[in-house]
């Protein structure tokens, strides 16, 4: 007791992207933060594909973008929990999501964004489900039997029971963090905090690691106060935007879309596999990926 267990050093939570990705085993449920064309932890997403992860249940954002589409295209996702997979003006519907949904390649957990957060809340609150009103009378409980219509125990009102969406590992991308896992986003935080609260572990890639003093200068900005691990990843959301750092890379996004759409339209994966080889399995690491994008292209995204 006392003296023998003294530990004097606060541990750094900085990890390499490989270590963060290694927290995921086949069959687990992971969450990917961000919102449509912004704020996705792409360095980690690419690592998961490189690692050949399989049978993952992917909790995409309430509106997820092509990061989720890519995990489907690469065969990593067997289940998707997200109310939307698409890319706004780039593509109304993710092509791999469409292909996989039409051909029954994946299970889609059909739900509204309000159900999505009700399920994440249930996990965060350690209750088996949360009730929600909207959805009664629709076909959602028919196509997704996990959304159960029931009568509430107080007023006998018809409600939807949304089961807890328990996340094994959440992956987010944010602006800055100190080495102790105190993360701050720039501006809005999408639904990232709800994923953190529903997850057993949370790894956050950041544009910049900053001093603890900078975090403490404005503690109200701290959005994730206890990330399991922090990954240094400048341009870590590329080709999607990072608020205040860079805008989406339309050209690269369209390159992916063309490859995935070719799979959707023809059933031939050649273009898609070439994209994956060039930008995911090919590069040795995140910096090598960025080299392939090119500094001129990266710098062109800095104005907005």
């Amino acid at each position: 007791m006392g003296g023998e267990t003294v530990s004097d050093v606060r541990a750094s939570r900085i990890v390499e992207v490989e270590e963060a990705a290694a927290a995921v085993k086949d069959g687990m449920t992971i969450a990917i933060g961000g919102f449509i064309n912004s704020g996705h932890p792409m360095a980690i997403v690419r690592q998961l594909i490189k690692d050949g992860r399989k049978d993952l249940t992917v909790v995409g954002a309430a509106s997820s973008g092509l990061e989720t589409d890519l995990l489907i295209a690469a065969g990593v996702a067997s289940h998707v929990i997200s109310p939307y997979v698409g890319a706004e003006g780039f593509a109304g519907i993710g092509p791999a999501f469409r292909k996989a949904g039409q051909d029954g390649l994946i299970d889609i957990f059909e739900l509204d964004e309000a159900h999505f957060y009700a399920g994440l809340r249930a996990s965060a609150q350690r209750v088996p489900y949360n009730p929600w009103k909207a959805g009664v009378g629709t076909d959602l409980p028919k196509v997704n039997p996990w959304l159960k219509e029931y009568r509430d125990p107080i007023n006998d009102e018809l409600l939807i029971a949304v089961p807890a969406i328990n996340i094994d590992v959440a992956f987010l991308h944010a602006a800055v963090s100190d080495i102790y896992g105190n993360v701050q986003h720039n501006g809005t935080r999408y639904g990232d905090i709800s994923m953190y609260n529903a997850a057993t572990k949370t790894y956050v890639s950041v544009e910049k690691v900053v001093s603890p003093e900078r975090i403490k200068a404005d503690p109200l900005r701290t959005s994730i106060p206890g990330a399991t691990g922090i990954i240094r990843a400048p341009y870590g959301s590329h080709p999607y935007s990072a608020d205040g750092y860079y805008v989406p890379d339309a050209e690269h996004i369209n390159t992916y879309l063309a490859a995935a759409t070719s799979w959707l339209k023809t059933g031939d994966r050649a273009e898609l596999d070439a994209y994956i080889a060039e930008f995911i399995t090919g590069p040795a690491d995140h910096a090598d990926y960025l080299e392939r994008i090119g500094i001129r292209a990266l710098l062109s995204l800095n104005e907005f």
Binding site: G101, E113, A114, F116, R189
Partner: protein, 262 residues
């Protein structure tokens, strides 16, 4: 009423005319018509509207030209912000929606005002066309005090007799008091707004009824472009498009780049 207005400008005006000062409205990205309609209502007669745009609560009446933004997460839009909205917090709370107005799309919309965002095909496990997913339409159409269906495609494949999957509930199959019996907080959709016309819903049958046709559009054109049987009243008025003042607001401040005229 300005005869030169484009169909989408007429749609935007129809949306704006129905908005009341003080209401709460979300403006999505990549939805030019509801965006323009909401902003027109805000600039024209809605100084006290709560406008949720690009993840902020914004007041835009001081902005000479409101640039379109391509992405809902566009940080450029935050120039107008009085508060951020964090998406999970927005969805975790619903009371503000009682005074809200929502515009619901659909890959299919039927005569009873149901919308389908899930997919097309009778076998859910083997859809002919996989849709984008419900996004927030299931909830928003249940919670908002007022809501409309909006489509840019007045086409028999979109405006169908019966949607394959109901992801947002309108009036079901026209059952009496369906929404009340389910305990839903609002009374159902007000209208379907299309590039050709506006439908409302018959009070008895709850089926779509032609409310007005846009300038230059015939009733026959609407009938042949619609996949369901329409209730056509004896007199069908012309949709009130933008006034001259509204058209100036649209063309100089809201849609300077002409997305509605393209």
């Amino acid at each position: 009423m300005n005869e030169t207005a484009s169909p989408k400008e007429v749609m935007a005006a129809a949306i704006a005319h129905d908005l009341k000062d003080g209401q709460w409205v979300e403006v999505g990205a990549n939805l030019p018509v509801p965006r323009a309609g909401a902003l027109l209502g805000h600039l024209h007669h809605g100084p006290n509207m709560t406008v949720m745009i690009a993840m902020t609560k914004a007041y835009l009446r001081d902005t000479p030209v409101i640039e379109e933004f391509e992405f809902i997460t566009d940080v450029g839009a935050m120039q107008w912000s009085e508060a951020y909205y964090q998406h999970d917090q927005l969805l975790n709370n619903q009371r503000h929606r009682a005074n809200g107005v929502f515009f619901c799309g659909g890959i299919q919309i039927d005569r009873f005002g149901n919308s389908n965002m899930i997919g097309i095909g009778s076998d859910y496990k083997n859809l002919k066309f996989r849709g984008p997913g419900p996004i927030g339409t299931t909830n928003a159409t249940a919670q908002n005090g007022t809501w409309h269906l909006v489509t840019n495609s007045h086409d028999p494949r979109v405006l169908v007799d019966r949607v394959d999957y109901i992801s947002a509930l309108g009036y079901g199959r026209g059952e009496k008091n369906l929404r009340e019996d389910l305990g839903l907080p609002n009374g159902g959709p007000s209208s379907i707004i299309t590039p050709l016309c506006v439908f409302d819903f018959d009070e008895e049958t709850r089926s779509a009824r032609l409310k007005s046709v846009h300038p230059g559009v015939s009733v026959d054109k609407v009938v042949e472009s619609t996949g369901f049987s329409i209730i056509v009243p004896e007199n069908v008025p012309i949709t009130a498009g933008p006034t001259a003042e509204e058209l100036v607001l649209l063309r100089t401040r809201i849609d300077a780049k002409g997305a509605l005229r393209g």
